[in-house]
Symmetry: C2
Subunit: 424 residues, 2 copies
């Protein structure tokens, strides 16, 4: 397996570090718009895993240019393009892999477009639709695009598949629930507002109309922050207010899995929801530039870019953050024994541990972990396929076994009261 990793930001860097502990690949070309950033990741391997350092190369790439991606595929005889850049580059990287004749993986999918007149009821283009529409192009070339294989989407899909295969005879609802108790402190030890993921992406996810799927109704949308509920997360995280947000799983799982309802809830917490609602009420989430006075005369900036500029860079937070993040899937229905069942399957990452071992904060590291394992399963042939597929289309057990036994990452399974599955 010869991998082109596109993007050496927080997630890309963690992919390098996690992969450097494994042995399933022949080459990883680390490519970034900023070649120095790619080199930093490769230097870490040189410093920490000298035995595999010769398998890593740093180079530069323009992820917005599919020809540039295809050229690197050809130059390095790449078999798998691992996309780790912002979702707005999904189409060009995906197309570049296809044109270059390589398999493709990502952790976030092509962006959605809201319905022009009925945004809070009717979906228009959903997350990943653009990619699913090109499945036959990959299949024709005998190539696989494994999309949405990060933490969420990714391990959340794998948990759903595991539940369907091993825990349930009939599934009523699949509800992805993501939450944590991460806290960032400033130098004075005071808690500060600092999202652990790009605020740009967080706003995109949270202010877009949430997507829900129901068997009888198909896909539909709601206003932002709908159906708030308090869910108790495991391992000491505790109760967090969760709301519906737009997320890939809802477009993925109903394609091949049987259920009555699929939804995604994000444990934003009351404070974060308030911040996002305030930004939206003021128009500070907008991406259309506004004219602003400056010492250099009037300039044109997108308010959302200004919000991103005033907040701490998520990549810089690792050492100032404490707490855990939990990616998981609540499945309800009829268990294999015929009785009502509600099970929350999850993986928790502790940010002090990830920072100590990888210099990464937990959300970023957890996102990076899943594609590395996916690549390893593809390398060994345990997972195989062609066309555009999600991780829920592969056997979940070898993934979860590898995760626990070889990557040393336990995952959990909480059976809960089917009448009140939000309570631990």
């Amino acid at each position: 397996m010869r991998i082109l990793l596109v993007g050496a930001g927080g997630v890309g860097d963690s992919i390098v570090k996690i992969a450097a502990n494994r042995n399933f690949y022949e080459l990883i070309v680390v490519a970034d718009y900023d070649p120095a950033r790619a080199q930093r990741s490769v230097d870490w391997v040189t410093d920490n895993r000298r035995d595999v350092a010769h398998r890593f190369i740093a180079t530069s790439i323009d992820a917005s240019n599919s020809q540039n991606v295809a050229a690197l595929v050809a130059e390095h005889k790449i078999t798998h393009v691992m996309n780790a850049v912002e979702p707005k580059f999904v189409q060009s990287v995906f197309q570049g892999a296809l044109d270059g004749g390589a398999n493709y993986l990502d952790m976030a999918m092509s962006l959605s477009h809201t319905h022009p007149t009925d945004p809070f009821n009717t979906p228009a283009e959903k997350l990943g639709d653009w990619q699913y529409d090109r499945s036959s192009e990959f299949a024709t070339k005998n190539l696989l695009a494994l999309i949405g294989t990060g933490a969420e989407p990714g391990i959340s899909n794998i948990f759903a598949r595991y539940a369907a295969d091993h825990l349930f005879q009939e599934i009523d609802e699949i509800k992805i629930l993501d939450g944590g108790n991460l806290v960032v402190k400033n130098d004075a030890g005071e808690e500060i507002f600092a999202p652990s993921f790009s605020i740009w992406t967080v706003i995109e996810e949270c202010l877009n109309p949430p997507l829900i799927w129901e068997k009888d109704r198909g896909w539909f949308t709601t206003p932002p922050f709908s159906e708030p509920e308090v869910f108790e997360f495991p391992e000491g995280i505790g109760a967090v207010e969760c709301v519906n947000v737009e997320h890939e799983e809802v477009n993925m799982l109903p394609r091949t899995m049987k259920a009555n309802r699929v939804s995604f809830k994000y444990g934003l917490g009351t404070e974060f929801i308030n911040v996002l609602q305030t930004l939206h009420a003021l128009g500070l989430d907008r991406i259309e530039p506004v004219s602003v006075r400056s010492q250099a005369g009037r300039v044109s900036v997108a308010p959302r870019d200004v919000v991103a500029a005033v907040l701490p860079d998520p990549a810089s937070l690792a050492s100032r953050m404490t707490g855990k993040t939990c990616a998981g899937t609540l499945v309800t229905g009829t268990g294999t024994d015929g009785s009502p069942r509600a099970t929350y399957l999850y993986h928790v990452a502790d940010t002090e541990w990830t920072n100590e071992h990888y210099g990464s904060q937990a959300v970023v590291w957890q996102t990076a972990l899943v594609p590395v394992i996916s690549l390893e399963l593809l390398a060994s042939g345990t997972w195989s396929g062609t066309g555009v597929m999600g991780p829920e289309e592969f056997d979940a057990k070898p993934f979860l076994d590898l995760l626990r036994d070889d990557y040393g990452q336990p995952w959990g399974l909480d059976d809960r009261d089917p009448q009140n599955p939000g309570k631990l």
Copy 2:
């Protein structure tokens, strides 16, 4: 009286329109950085009050340049400089009047500087300190600087003085309370977030440490939004959450009035407080420029300027706004009859009325009303003095009589339960 009005923004324009109904001046030179804006105000007089139009001239001015102010004073033989620009130009306009040999008036005072190490306990330079320090320079030239003579500070000070002279034998506390029920709707009829005053100034007022004065302690500061209380405003406005904010009155009244405590509370309402706290938590209130990506490359903008840019221009809101604003002073202590007394003295402006009659929204119009009456009292010699003085240093009764009888603006006086003065 020959007046140089510096600034033809919302307040300056209203000063022109209110003054055009009166007859106490020989000349008003309307000066703005943008001469077209000054001309618009003068054109309104030509169109609506042809009889006095010959007394108005439009010209341009750089309010940041005291020599420019002094030159206009000389050119037009100005007797009174009326400052109606942003507080950051107070020093240059004030100095220009002094240098040119003219009397001076303003509605907001020189800016404060917070204490470098103990901002939430200890005041450093207070609002207006810079001006009070120059009192003898005005007095030596036999000139008056009547500072803080708008709505608040201004009519609030006059109410305090009236209460001291006519309603109380001993004052315990003077608490200025400003509140309203103004609402702005968009074209679809939905309520939108749109401050009725420059967001730049609102942030400055509300996020600076509030100033409080106590007889035994002197001036001290607190963290923002301290001592929240719900106060019921009169004339249908109703209950509004009010918090301490930094305001001029607290530096003004204790200089010449007897009381145990002086404070200022702003009826921001729960939603607005939340917005300001969120902006502050994210750092979007900052005035130091940050580097932001843009289509023209990286640019440098102050986050607070971006917030101002995304919000509707307060000057554009008049026709979309409904509701009332109330400027008033709650005085508690021992009444003239020797029994406990709590009286709220106030003036209310209804924004639909001010818009219909003056094309101004209520807050701006109310601010403009007070200096015009002050100028009229100075022109008639009813008020006179030298040095730097606040409106509370003049007899309040002729002001309030003129307000009611000649300007047709009733003012109110609510006697309240001394045990619970927040309730109507």
